[in-house]
Symmetry: C2
Subunit: 223 residues, 2 copies
Protein backbone atom coordinates (compact mmCIF):
# COMPACT_ATOMS: atom_id res chain seq x y z
CA UNK A 1 0.00 0.00 0.00
CA UNK A 2 3.07 2.22 -0.31
CA UNK A 3 1.51 4.42 -2.99
CA UNK A 4 -1.40 5.58 -0.84
CA UNK A 5 -1.13 9.33 -0.54
CA UNK A 6 -2.87 11.33 2.11
CA UNK A 7 -4.03 14.89 1.97
CA UNK A 8 -5.88 17.05 4.45
CA UNK A 9 -6.61 20.73 4.87
CA UNK A 10 -4.20 20.87 7.83
CA UNK A 11 -0.56 21.88 7.26
CA UNK A 12 1.33 18.87 5.93
CA UNK A 13 3.86 17.39 8.32
CA UNK A 14 7.27 16.60 6.90
CA UNK A 15 10.20 14.33 7.57
CA UNK A 16 9.88 11.78 10.35
CA UNK A 17 6.35 12.77 11.33
CA UNK A 18 5.15 12.40 7.74
CA UNK A 19 6.81 8.99 7.50
CA UNK A 20 5.10 7.87 10.71
CA UNK A 21 1.72 9.11 9.52
CA UNK A 22 2.17 7.16 6.28
CA UNK A 23 3.07 4.02 8.25
CA UNK A 24 -0.03 4.43 10.41
CA UNK A 25 -2.34 5.07 7.45
CA UNK A 26 -0.99 2.08 5.51
CA UNK A 27 -1.31 -0.28 8.46
CA UNK A 28 -4.83 0.98 9.19
CA UNK A 29 -5.91 0.54 5.57
CA UNK A 30 -4.67 -3.05 5.54
CA UNK A 31 -6.43 -3.80 8.83
CA UNK A 32 -9.70 -2.15 7.76
CA UNK A 33 -9.69 -4.26 4.61
CA UNK A 34 -8.68 -7.52 6.27
CA UNK A 35 -11.06 -7.44 9.19
CA UNK A 36 -13.37 -4.46 8.66
CA UNK A 37 -13.40 -0.98 10.15
CA UNK A 38 -15.53 -2.08 13.10
CA UNK A 39 -13.22 -4.77 14.41
CA UNK A 40 -9.99 -2.82 14.00
CA UNK A 41 -8.65 -1.21 17.17
CA UNK A 42 -6.20 1.66 17.52
CA UNK A 43 -4.00 -0.76 19.49
CA UNK A 44 -3.74 -3.03 16.45
CA UNK A 45 -3.00 -0.05 14.23
CA UNK A 46 -0.15 0.97 16.55
CA UNK A 47 1.25 -2.58 16.63
CA UNK A 48 1.07 -3.08 12.85
CA UNK A 49 2.55 0.31 12.03
CA UNK A 50 5.42 -0.14 14.51
CA UNK A 51 4.80 3.14 16.29
CA UNK A 52 3.67 3.78 19.86
CA UNK A 53 0.01 4.16 20.79
CA UNK A 54 0.76 7.70 21.93
CA UNK A 55 2.05 8.55 18.46
CA UNK A 56 -1.05 7.11 16.81
CA UNK A 57 -3.34 9.15 19.06
CA UNK A 58 -1.21 12.26 18.67
CA UNK A 59 -1.50 12.06 14.87
CA UNK A 60 -5.12 10.87 14.70
CA UNK A 61 -7.48 11.73 17.56
CA UNK A 62 -9.55 8.56 17.11
CA UNK A 63 -10.34 5.73 14.71
CA UNK A 64 -12.92 7.73 12.78
CA UNK A 65 -10.42 10.56 12.21
CA UNK A 66 -7.99 7.97 10.87
CA UNK A 67 -10.62 6.51 8.55
CA UNK A 68 -11.57 9.97 7.28
CA UNK A 69 -7.91 10.75 6.64
CA UNK A 70 -7.63 7.60 4.52
CA UNK A 71 -10.74 8.63 2.59
CA UNK A 72 -9.15 12.03 1.92
CA UNK A 73 -6.14 10.18 0.56
CA UNK A 74 -8.56 8.57 -1.91
CA UNK A 75 -9.64 11.92 -3.23
CA UNK A 76 -6.05 13.15 -3.61
CA UNK A 77 -5.27 10.02 -5.59
CA UNK A 78 -8.40 10.53 -7.73
CA UNK A 79 -7.23 14.04 -8.57
CA UNK A 80 -3.97 12.60 -9.78
CA UNK A 81 -5.72 10.05 -12.02
CA UNK A 82 -8.12 12.60 -13.48
CA UNK A 83 -5.19 14.95 -14.24
CA UNK A 84 -3.46 12.16 -16.13
CA UNK A 85 -6.61 11.35 -18.14
CA UNK A 86 -7.05 15.06 -18.91
CA UNK A 87 -3.57 15.18 -20.44
CA UNK A 88 -4.38 12.18 -22.65
CA UNK A 89 -7.53 13.72 -24.17
CA UNK A 90 -6.03 17.20 -24.43
CA UNK A 91 -4.24 16.61 -27.75
CA UNK A 92 -5.16 17.65 -31.29
CA UNK A 93 -7.29 15.02 -33.05
CA UNK A 94 -7.56 15.35 -36.82
CA UNK A 95 -9.47 12.26 -37.89
CA UNK A 96 -10.96 8.95 -36.73
CA UNK A 97 -7.55 7.26 -36.70
CA UNK A 98 -6.22 9.90 -34.32
CA UNK A 99 -9.37 9.57 -32.24
CA UNK A 100 -9.03 5.79 -32.10
CA UNK A 101 -5.49 6.13 -30.73
CA UNK A 102 -6.56 8.68 -28.11
CA UNK A 103 -9.53 6.54 -27.02
CA UNK A 104 -7.29 3.48 -26.72
CA UNK A 105 -4.77 5.40 -24.60
CA UNK A 106 -7.56 6.86 -22.49
CA UNK A 107 -9.20 3.47 -21.90
CA UNK A 108 -5.87 1.85 -21.11
CA UNK A 109 -4.73 4.49 -18.63
CA UNK A 110 -8.15 4.56 -16.93
CA UNK A 111 -8.14 0.77 -16.67
CA UNK A 112 -4.57 0.70 -15.32
CA UNK A 113 -5.57 3.25 -12.70
CA UNK A 114 -8.76 1.58 -11.41
CA UNK A 115 -7.24 -1.90 -11.25
CA UNK A 116 -4.05 -0.75 -9.46
CA UNK A 117 -3.93 -2.60 -6.12
CA UNK A 118 -4.00 0.47 -3.86
CA UNK A 119 -6.84 2.11 -5.82
CA UNK A 120 -8.83 -1.11 -5.76
CA UNK A 121 -8.17 -1.51 -2.02
CA UNK A 122 -9.52 1.96 -1.26
CA UNK A 123 -12.51 1.38 -3.53
CA UNK A 124 -13.39 -1.85 -1.76
CA UNK A 125 -13.05 -0.16 1.61
CA UNK A 126 -15.39 2.68 0.59
CA UNK A 127 -17.95 0.17 -0.72
CA UNK A 128 -17.70 -1.90 2.45
CA UNK A 129 -18.23 1.11 4.72
CA UNK A 130 -20.86 2.92 2.63
CA UNK A 131 -23.58 2.20 5.22
CA UNK A 132 -21.54 3.57 8.11
CA UNK A 133 -19.93 6.50 6.25
CA UNK A 134 -22.37 7.46 3.46
CA UNK A 135 -20.85 10.95 3.25
CA UNK A 136 -17.39 9.55 2.54
CA UNK A 137 -18.68 7.00 0.01
CA UNK A 138 -20.53 9.79 -1.78
CA UNK A 139 -17.47 12.07 -1.70
CA UNK A 140 -15.36 9.24 -3.12
CA UNK A 141 -17.84 8.66 -5.96
CA UNK A 142 -18.03 12.38 -6.78
CA UNK A 143 -14.29 12.85 -6.75
CA UNK A 144 -13.46 9.61 -8.57
CA UNK A 145 -15.94 7.94 -10.97
CA UNK A 146 -18.07 11.08 -11.42
CA UNK A 147 -15.15 13.32 -12.43
CA UNK A 148 -13.86 10.64 -14.80
CA UNK A 149 -17.24 10.64 -16.54
CA UNK A 150 -17.31 14.45 -16.74
CA UNK A 151 -13.86 14.53 -18.25
CA UNK A 152 -14.83 12.01 -20.93
CA UNK A 153 -18.03 13.91 -21.68
CA UNK A 154 -16.22 17.19 -22.20
CA UNK A 155 -13.74 15.53 -24.57
CA UNK A 156 -16.60 13.89 -26.51
CA UNK A 157 -18.31 17.26 -26.91
CA UNK A 158 -15.14 18.66 -28.41
CA UNK A 159 -14.87 15.77 -30.85
CA UNK A 160 -18.58 16.07 -31.67
CA UNK A 161 -18.02 19.73 -32.63
CA UNK A 162 -15.29 18.51 -34.98
CA UNK A 163 -17.82 16.10 -36.50
CA UNK A 164 -15.89 13.00 -35.39
CA UNK A 165 -18.42 11.81 -32.83
CA UNK A 166 -22.20 11.83 -32.85
CA UNK A 167 -24.39 10.83 -29.91
CA UNK A 168 -28.03 11.50 -29.00
CA UNK A 169 -27.03 12.02 -25.35
CA UNK A 170 -23.49 13.01 -24.41
CA UNK A 171 -23.53 12.04 -20.71
CA UNK A 172 -24.82 8.60 -21.71
CA UNK A 173 -22.18 8.24 -24.43
CA UNK A 174 -19.46 9.20 -21.91
CA UNK A 175 -20.74 6.65 -19.45
CA UNK A 176 -20.89 4.02 -22.20
CA UNK A 177 -17.26 4.64 -23.05
CA UNK A 178 -16.19 4.44 -19.40
CA UNK A 179 -17.96 1.13 -18.70
CA UNK A 180 -16.98 -0.42 -22.06
CA UNK A 181 -13.41 0.24 -20.93
CA UNK A 182 -13.63 -0.55 -17.22
CA UNK A 183 -16.75 -2.61 -16.55
CA UNK A 184 -15.61 -6.19 -17.01
CA UNK A 185 -12.14 -5.83 -15.43
CA UNK A 186 -13.33 -3.71 -12.54
CA UNK A 187 -16.18 -6.09 -11.73
CA UNK A 188 -13.85 -9.09 -11.83
CA UNK A 189 -11.18 -7.52 -9.62
CA UNK A 190 -13.64 -6.39 -6.94
CA UNK A 191 -14.19 -10.09 -6.23
CA UNK A 192 -10.59 -11.14 -6.98
CA UNK A 193 -8.41 -8.45 -5.40
CA UNK A 194 -5.32 -10.68 -5.58
CA UNK A 195 -5.74 -11.25 -9.33
CA UNK A 196 -5.57 -7.87 -11.11
CA UNK A 197 -5.81 -8.11 -14.93
CA UNK A 198 -2.48 -8.60 -16.73
CA UNK A 199 -1.09 -5.82 -18.94
CA UNK A 200 -1.95 -7.82 -22.09
CA UNK A 201 -5.55 -8.21 -20.90
CA UNK A 202 -5.78 -4.50 -20.16
CA UNK A 203 -4.37 -3.64 -23.58
CA UNK A 204 -6.90 -5.93 -25.25
CA UNK A 205 -9.79 -4.50 -23.22
CA UNK A 206 -8.76 -0.92 -24.06
CA UNK A 207 -8.53 -1.65 -27.79
CA UNK A 208 -11.91 -3.41 -27.79
CA UNK A 209 -13.58 -0.56 -25.88
CA UNK A 210 -12.29 2.02 -28.37
CA UNK A 211 -13.44 -0.14 -31.32
CA UNK A 212 -16.95 -0.67 -29.96
CA UNK A 213 -17.31 2.97 -29.00
CA UNK A 214 -16.25 4.18 -32.46
CA UNK A 215 -18.49 1.63 -34.19
CA UNK A 216 -21.43 3.10 -32.26
CA UNK A 217 -20.54 6.80 -32.05
CA UNK A 218 -17.69 7.50 -34.51
CA UNK A 219 -18.41 9.56 -37.66
CA UNK A 220 -15.98 9.98 -40.53
CA UNK A 221 -15.00 13.61 -40.92
CA UNK A 222 -16.64 15.35 -43.85
CA UNK A 223 -14.83 17.34 -46.55
CA UNK B 1 -33.81 -8.34 3.46
CA UNK B 2 -36.92 -10.49 3.38
CA UNK B 3 -36.22 -11.79 -0.13
CA UNK B 4 -32.89 -13.41 0.76
CA UNK B 5 -33.22 -17.07 0.03
CA UNK B 6 -30.91 -19.68 1.44
CA UNK B 7 -29.98 -23.01 0.00
CA UNK B 8 -27.62 -25.70 1.16
CA UNK B 9 -26.91 -29.29 0.32
CA UNK B 10 -28.46 -30.39 3.64
CA UNK B 11 -32.16 -31.34 3.76
CA UNK B 12 -34.20 -28.15 3.86
CA UNK B 13 -35.95 -27.49 7.16
CA UNK B 14 -39.55 -26.46 6.98
CA UNK B 15 -42.09 -24.59 9.06
CA UNK B 16 -40.93 -22.91 12.26
CA UNK B 17 -37.31 -24.01 11.93
CA UNK B 18 -37.11 -22.60 8.40
CA UNK B 19 -38.62 -19.33 9.60
CA UNK B 20 -36.08 -19.09 12.43
CA UNK B 21 -33.20 -19.82 10.06
CA UNK B 22 -34.42 -17.03 7.79
CA UNK B 23 -34.63 -14.63 10.73
CA UNK B 24 -31.08 -15.52 11.76
CA UNK B 25 -29.68 -15.18 8.24
CA UNK B 26 -31.38 -11.84 7.68
CA UNK B 27 -30.19 -10.41 11.00
CA UNK B 28 -26.66 -11.68 10.35
CA UNK B 29 -26.57 -10.18 6.87
CA UNK B 30 -27.63 -6.79 8.20
CA UNK B 31 -25.03 -6.94 10.96
CA UNK B 32 -22.23 -8.08 8.62
CA UNK B 33 -23.00 -5.16 6.33
CA UNK B 34 -23.39 -2.55 9.06
CA UNK B 35 -20.31 -3.36 11.08
CA UNK B 36 -18.37 -5.98 9.12
CA UNK B 37 -18.07 -9.72 9.49
CA UNK B 38 -15.19 -9.43 11.96
CA UNK B 39 -16.95 -7.31 14.55
CA UNK B 40 -20.25 -9.20 14.48
CA UNK B 41 -20.75 -11.70 17.30
CA UNK B 42 -23.13 -14.64 17.45
CA UNK B 43 -24.63 -12.97 20.57
CA UNK B 44 -25.60 -9.95 18.47
CA UNK B 45 -27.03 -12.19 15.76
CA UNK B 46 -29.18 -13.96 18.37
CA UNK B 47 -30.37 -10.64 19.84
CA UNK B 48 -31.19 -9.07 16.47
CA UNK B 49 -32.97 -12.15 15.12
CA UNK B 50 -35.06 -12.54 18.29
CA UNK B 51 -34.10 -16.17 18.83
CA UNK B 52 -32.09 -17.74 21.63
CA UNK B 53 -28.33 -18.20 21.41
CA UNK B 54 -28.88 -21.96 21.63
CA UNK B 55 -31.10 -21.83 18.54
CA UNK B 56 -28.48 -19.86 16.61
CA UNK B 57 -25.77 -22.36 17.48
CA UNK B 58 -28.04 -25.31 16.80
CA UNK B 59 -28.77 -24.03 13.28
CA UNK B 60 -25.28 -22.69 12.50
CA UNK B 61 -22.28 -24.24 14.24
CA UNK B 62 -20.28 -21.00 14.19
CA UNK B 63 -20.06 -17.57 12.58
CA UNK B 64 -18.17 -18.84 9.54
CA UNK B 65 -20.85 -21.47 8.87
CA UNK B 66 -23.45 -18.72 9.04
CA UNK B 67 -21.47 -16.55 6.62
CA UNK B 68 -21.04 -19.47 4.21
CA UNK B 69 -24.77 -20.16 4.36
CA UNK B 70 -25.48 -16.55 3.40
CA UNK B 71 -23.04 -16.88 0.50
CA UNK B 72 -24.89 -19.98 -0.68
CA UNK B 73 -28.08 -17.94 -0.59
CA UNK B 74 -26.37 -15.60 -3.03
CA UNK B 75 -25.81 -18.39 -5.50
CA UNK B 76 -29.42 -19.61 -5.24
CA UNK B 77 -30.58 -16.08 -5.97
CA UNK B 78 -28.16 -15.82 -8.91
CA UNK B 79 -29.65 -19.00 -10.39
CA UNK B 80 -33.07 -17.41 -10.22
CA UNK B 81 -31.89 -14.25 -12.00
CA UNK B 82 -30.06 -16.20 -14.73
CA UNK B 83 -33.17 -18.34 -15.31
CA UNK B 84 -35.23 -15.20 -15.79
CA UNK B 85 -32.71 -13.74 -18.24
CA UNK B 86 -32.65 -17.04 -20.13
CA UNK B 87 -36.42 -16.85 -20.65
CA UNK B 88 -36.09 -13.31 -22.04
CA UNK B 89 -33.52 -14.23 -24.72
CA UNK B 90 -35.19 -17.54 -25.55
CA UNK B 91 -37.77 -16.12 -27.97
CA UNK B 92 -37.88 -16.05 -31.78
CA UNK B 93 -36.21 -12.94 -33.19
CA UNK B 94 -36.96 -12.18 -36.85
CA UNK B 95 -35.28 -8.84 -37.43
CA UNK B 96 -33.41 -5.94 -35.82
CA UNK B 97 -36.61 -4.46 -34.39
CA UNK B 98 -37.36 -7.73 -32.62
CA UNK B 99 -33.76 -7.89 -31.45
CA UNK B 100 -33.88 -4.32 -30.14
CA UNK B 101 -36.95 -5.18 -28.04
CA UNK B 102 -35.32 -8.32 -26.65
CA UNK B 103 -32.09 -6.48 -25.82
CA UNK B 104 -34.03 -3.73 -24.07
CA UNK B 105 -35.97 -6.26 -22.00
CA UNK B 106 -32.78 -8.16 -21.21
CA UNK B 107 -30.91 -5.02 -20.15
CA UNK B 108 -33.85 -3.83 -18.07
CA UNK B 109 -34.37 -7.10 -16.23
CA UNK B 110 -30.64 -7.51 -15.60
CA UNK B 111 -30.42 -3.98 -14.27
CA UNK B 112 -33.49 -4.43 -12.06
CA UNK B 113 -31.91 -7.58 -10.65
CA UNK B 114 -28.45 -6.23 -9.83
CA UNK B 115 -29.73 -3.01 -8.28
CA UNK B 116 -32.36 -4.74 -6.10
CA UNK B 117 -31.50 -3.90 -2.47
CA UNK B 118 -30.95 -7.49 -1.28
CA UNK B 119 -28.81 -8.39 -4.32
CA UNK B 120 -26.75 -5.25 -3.88
CA UNK B 121 -26.37 -5.96 -0.15
CA UNK B 122 -24.99 -9.44 -0.80
CA UNK B 123 -22.72 -8.13 -3.54
CA UNK B 124 -21.26 -5.50 -1.22
CA UNK B 125 -20.75 -8.10 1.49
CA UNK B 126 -18.88 -10.43 -0.89
CA UNK B 127 -16.66 -7.55 -2.06
CA UNK B 128 -15.97 -6.47 1.51
CA UNK B 129 -14.98 -9.98 2.61
CA UNK B 130 -13.08 -11.02 -0.55
CA UNK B 131 -9.73 -10.96 1.32
CA UNK B 132 -11.00 -13.16 4.13
CA UNK B 133 -13.14 -15.51 2.00
CA UNK B 134 -11.58 -15.54 -1.48
CA UNK B 135 -13.25 -18.88 -2.27
CA UNK B 136 -16.71 -17.47 -1.60
CA UNK B 137 -16.05 -14.26 -3.53
CA UNK B 138 -14.86 -16.34 -6.48
CA UNK B 139 -17.88 -18.68 -6.24
CA UNK B 140 -20.17 -15.65 -6.18
CA UNK B 141 -18.52 -14.19 -9.27
CA UNK B 142 -18.70 -17.50 -11.15
CA UNK B 143 -22.32 -18.11 -10.26
CA UNK B 144 -23.48 -14.52 -10.79
CA UNK B 145 -21.67 -12.14 -13.17
CA UNK B 146 -19.84 -14.94 -15.06
CA UNK B 147 -23.03 -16.90 -15.85
CA UNK B 148 -24.81 -13.73 -16.92
CA UNK B 149 -22.01 -13.08 -19.43
CA UNK B 150 -22.16 -16.66 -20.72
CA UNK B 151 -25.89 -16.46 -21.20
CA UNK B 152 -25.57 -13.24 -23.21
CA UNK B 153 -22.75 -14.71 -25.30
CA UNK B 154 -24.77 -17.78 -26.24
CA UNK B 155 -27.73 -15.61 -27.28
CA UNK B 156 -25.44 -13.37 -29.35
CA UNK B 157 -24.02 -16.42 -31.15
CA UNK B 158 -27.54 -17.44 -32.09
CA UNK B 159 -28.34 -13.99 -33.42
CA UNK B 160 -25.00 -13.90 -35.26
CA UNK B 161 -25.94 -17.15 -37.03
CA UNK B 162 -29.14 -15.42 -38.13
CA UNK B 163 -27.03 -12.56 -39.51
CA UNK B 164 -28.45 -10.00 -37.09
CA UNK B 165 -25.30 -9.49 -35.07
CA UNK B 166 -21.66 -9.36 -36.10
CA UNK B 167 -18.73 -9.16 -33.70
CA UNK B 168 -15.01 -9.92 -34.01
CA UNK B 169 -15.01 -11.51 -30.54
CA UNK B 170 -18.20 -12.85 -29.00
CA UNK B 171 -17.14 -12.99 -25.33
CA UNK B 172 -16.03 -9.35 -25.61
CA UNK B 173 -19.28 -8.34 -27.32
CA UNK B 174 -21.26 -10.07 -24.54
CA UNK B 175 -19.27 -8.29 -21.87
CA UNK B 176 -19.75 -4.98 -23.69
CA UNK B 177 -23.50 -5.49 -23.69
CA UNK B 178 -23.54 -6.37 -19.99
CA UNK B 179 -21.54 -3.36 -18.87
CA UNK B 180 -23.29 -0.95 -21.25
CA UNK B 181 -26.46 -2.04 -19.46
CA UNK B 182 -25.24 -2.33 -15.87
CA UNK B 183 -21.97 -0.43 -15.49
CA UNK B 184 -23.05 3.09 -14.58
CA UNK B 185 -25.98 2.15 -12.31
CA UNK B 186 -24.14 -0.65 -10.57
CA UNK B 187 -21.09 1.50 -9.90
CA UNK B 188 -23.24 4.31 -8.51
CA UNK B 189 -25.28 2.08 -6.21
CA UNK B 190 -22.22 0.33 -4.75
CA UNK B 191 -21.36 3.68 -3.17
CA UNK B 192 -24.98 4.77 -2.58
CA UNK B 193 -26.78 1.65 -1.32
CA UNK B 194 -29.69 3.70 -0.03
CA UNK B 195 -30.29 5.34 -3.42
CA UNK B 196 -31.07 2.61 -5.98
CA UNK B 197 -31.85 3.93 -9.48
CA UNK B 198 -35.51 4.80 -10.11
CA UNK B 199 -37.56 2.72 -12.58
CA UNK B 200 -37.50 5.56 -15.13
CA UNK B 201 -33.70 5.74 -14.89
CA UNK B 202 -33.43 1.98 -15.33
CA UNK B 203 -35.72 2.08 -18.37
CA UNK B 204 -33.65 4.86 -19.92
CA UNK B 205 -30.38 3.02 -19.23
CA UNK B 206 -31.73 -0.21 -20.76
CA UNK B 207 -32.93 1.55 -23.92
CA UNK B 208 -29.61 3.37 -24.30
CA UNK B 209 -27.60 0.15 -23.82
CA UNK B 210 -29.62 -1.65 -26.51
CA UNK B 211 -29.19 1.29 -28.93
CA UNK B 212 -25.44 1.56 -28.46
CA UNK B 213 -24.98 -2.19 -28.70
CA UNK B 214 -26.97 -2.40 -31.95
CA UNK B 215 -25.17 0.63 -33.40
CA UNK B 216 -21.89 -1.21 -32.83
CA UNK B 217 -22.86 -4.84 -33.47
CA UNK B 218 -26.27 -4.93 -35.18
CA UNK B 219 -26.47 -5.94 -38.84
CA UNK B 220 -29.62 -5.61 -40.97
CA UNK B 221 -30.79 -9.03 -42.12
CA UNK B 222 -30.01 -9.83 -45.73
CA UNK B 223 -32.54 -11.04 -48.30
Amino acid sequence: MAQTSVRSSAPQPTGRTAAKRRQIVEAALDLFLQQGYGKTSMDQVAADSHVSKQTVYKQFADKETLFREIAHGVTANSDHIVDELARIVDVPVADLDDLRRVLQRLARRYLDAVTAPHVLALRRLMIAEADQFPDLAHAYYQRGPRRGLELIESALRRWAEQGLVSAPNMPTAASHFAYLALGASQDYTLFHPSRPPKPTERAKAATAAAETFLAAFGRPREG
